[in-house]
């Protein structure tokens, strides 16, 4: 694939693949595959856009393309896991966490199997493809399942680290939620140092007036927002809550006590998602603080190119800063 120049709006498939540098599941599994014969992977005709194919190229005998049959794929992954495999499944989040929800619940979560689901192009990343291709419910859905761990990494480096941990030391089902992979990274890749651990929030910036708790691609936007807020005199803590379940409650409570105001930001409906999960922790703690959830407010997204949609829904840095400013000064 030649390096091409492209417009930020492009959706041409192969340019898109080239741009999706943060979709690191396939390359990570390819790296781990030799020492971990238990890894198998599968997709449903989206192995290239999800970049799981990077594993399939290296280990064709352990890679299965199920065609457009997600329910069968997820359930077969459970069957594979029952034979001792760690089964990685990846397709667009709308066809995984939403379409195959019952299969995930009954065949994966209930038997508590080592199936790792990676929903890509989540939230509104599919832009003008429309609501059928958006996933603004998958956190709520998977979070409601007992045994399920729910992780929304900030970038490709984080995804790679968390997948590696999940292969080496973690048991049980995980739902990973990632975007289309062409976003700006938050973490600098460092072979010497693990920067993301399952269940441990990362405080990326300290602040005393407000804490923004974000997940997924909104972490980077929250950092941009913190810069703007700093200029407005609002000292903002930014927390990457990549693991939504089980949540790092200690970090949440500490932030609430120390900054007195918490704003959650997610590319997801505010019902049942990250914001709801944080709210549950706060309300049950008895700690009093200002609190607001930011995301989609019980609505389906407009049609548009992703770049403009994030602006429209105030899910870019400037938008989050404006929401935060209004919230803190209310």
């Amino acid at each position: 694939m030649n390096t091409t120049t492209f417009h930020k709006d492009t959706w041409e498939l192969y340019k898109s693949l080239e741009m999706s540098k943060q979709l690191t599941a396939g390359e990570t599994l390819a790296k781990l595959g030799k020492n971990h014969p238990e890894i198998v992977a599968m997709s449903s005709d989206l192995s290239k856009p999800t970049r799981l194919w990077d594993f399939g190229k290296e280990f064709p005998e352990r890679f299965f393309n199920f065609g457009l049959a997600e329910k069968n794929m997820v359930t077969a992954a459970a069957g594979l896991a029952s034979t001792g495999k760690t089964a990685f499944v990846s397709t667009y989040a709308s066809f995984l966490g939403v379409l195959a929800a019952e299969n995930i619940r009954t065949a994966v979560a209930y038997p508590n199997l080592n199936v790792r689901l990676i929903g890509t192009h989540t939230g509104i990343a599919m832009g003008f493809y429309g609501t059928s291709h958006h996933a603004t419910e998958d956190i709520s859905i998977t979070r409601a399942m007992a045994n399920m761990t729910v992780i929304s990494p900030a970038d490709g480096a984080a995804l790679a680290e968390l997948i590696e941990e999940s292969v080496k030391t973690y048991d049980g089902p995980i739902y990973f939620r990632v975007s289309r992979g062409r976003e700006e990274p938050v973490y600098k890749r460092d072979a010497e140092k693990v920067q993301n651990k399952i269940g441990k929030a990362n405080t990326l910036r300290n602040g005393s007036d407000l804490t923004i708790i974000a997940c997924g691609i909104e972490v980077n936007e929250a950092l941009k927002a913190a810069d703007e807020l700093q200029e407005q005199g609002i000292s903002t803590r930014v927390m990457d809550m990549h693991t939504i379940k089980p949540m790092d409650t200690k970090a949440v409570l500490q932030a609430a006590e120390e900054t007195g105001a918490v704003l959650t930001v997610e590319e997801h409906n505010v019902q049942g998602g990250l914001g709801s999960a944080v709210a549950e922790v706060l309300l049950e703690s008895g700690i009093s603080c200002k609190f607001k959830r930011h995301g989609f407010y019980d609505e389906y997204s407009l049609i548009g190119k992703p770049y403009y949609l994030y602006q429209h829904y105030k899910l870019d840095g400037a938008g989050i800063a404006s929401v935060a400013n209004e919230f803190i000064n209310k």
Binding site: V40, E61, R62, F64, F66, G67, A69, K71, N72, T75, A76, A77, A78, G79, L80, A81, S82, T83, G84, K85, A87, E102, N103, T106, A107, Y110, P111, N112
Partner: protein
């Protein structure tokens, strides 16, 4: 079919007895629960007994033995007919069955792989089983294991779209180590399958998905044995569907063919009649 020797005759008699035991225990266990799946368990009794006393390769003292054959019930609601067999072959003590459906019991209406030794996969959501089997068969291939995976499905189950996703993928992946057993008892909860939502012709559907198809009388133990003994080689390229012609409620005259007995609770007199008929049956 020269394999039906005198030894096999003994086996046939043993399996018939064990099928009877499964039916009798089903009646006893359902009487503890006060509700259960008689009809669809009785249609599978000979299939269960043939699998566990003849066909399946397993070690009840080592339930997670990696090379064992797998058996998954797509029609998990027939579990009550399998539990007594699992106990009888030594996976757990028979007394454990007395807790059936009571608070905290491992034994519910549908089987749980994490609670019951010998259950290879949890089931209950109709239509999942064959997909699980596809995964198990792929797992066997990846590990170069020679075991087979058997999936029992009801004819009503074939109404689930996922079954055909799984059938397509099994054909596509050339899973000669996968066997679908269809308990074609011709009834579902609400009525007769053909009238309610017709899934016929069954044979042609499986053939068109690239499967090897065998028709058999699902209550004829000798035929079942022959069918299982003559399956294509594990490393052949076509999965096999065994379509078992069965009778819902088989063995109890007033239940036979009746969809009303899919889920029911027998009164004391009926229990007595049913036990007499089963004990006196062939």
């Amino acid at each position: 079919m020269t394999k039906t020797s005198s030894v096999a005759q003994n086996t046939i008699e043993l399996i018939k007895e064990k099928a009877k035991m499964s039916r009798l225990e089903t009646i006893r266990l359902i009487s503890l629960a006060k509700s259960g799946h008689y009809g669809s368990s009785f249609s599978s009794s000979e299939i269960f007994a043939t699998l566990y006393y003849h066909t399946l390769n397993y070690d009840s003292k080592n339930p997670s033995w990696k090379s064992r054959d797998r058996f998954v019930m797509g029609k998990g609601h027939s579990a009550v007919g399998v539990y007594p067999i699992l106990a009888d072959v030594g996976f757990f003590p028979k007394e454990d069955l007395d807790t059936y459906t009571q608070l905290g019991s491992p034994f519910g209406d549908h089987p749980d792989m994490n609670k019951i030794k010998g259950v290879d996969f949890s089931s209950g959501s109709i239509g999942h089983g064959l997909s699980v089997g596809v995964g198990m068969s792929l797992g066997a291939r990846v590990d170069n294991e020679k075991y087979r995976t058997y999936i029992l499905m009801g004819d009503g189950e074939l109404q689930e779209g996922q079954v055909w996703e799984a059938a397509m993928s099994a054909g596509n992946f050339k899973l000669g180590n996968l066997v679908a057993i269809i308990d074609n008892n011709k009834v579902t909860v609400d009525g007769n399958t053909e009238e309610l939502m017709n899934i016929n012709p069954i044979r042609e559907k499986w053939e068109s998905f690239g499967w090897n198809v065998v028709d058999v009388d699902g209550h004829d133990v000798e035929e079942l044995i022959k069918t299982f003994e003559n399956l294509p080689a594990v490393d052949s390229e076509k999965p096999t569907a065994i379509i078992c012609d069965t009778v819902a409620g088989k063995g109890v005259s007033f239940m036979e063919h009746g969809y009303e007995w899919h889920v029911a609770n027998l009164g004391e007199d009926d229990i007595k009649r049913a036990i007499e008929e089963i004990e006196g049956g062939n």
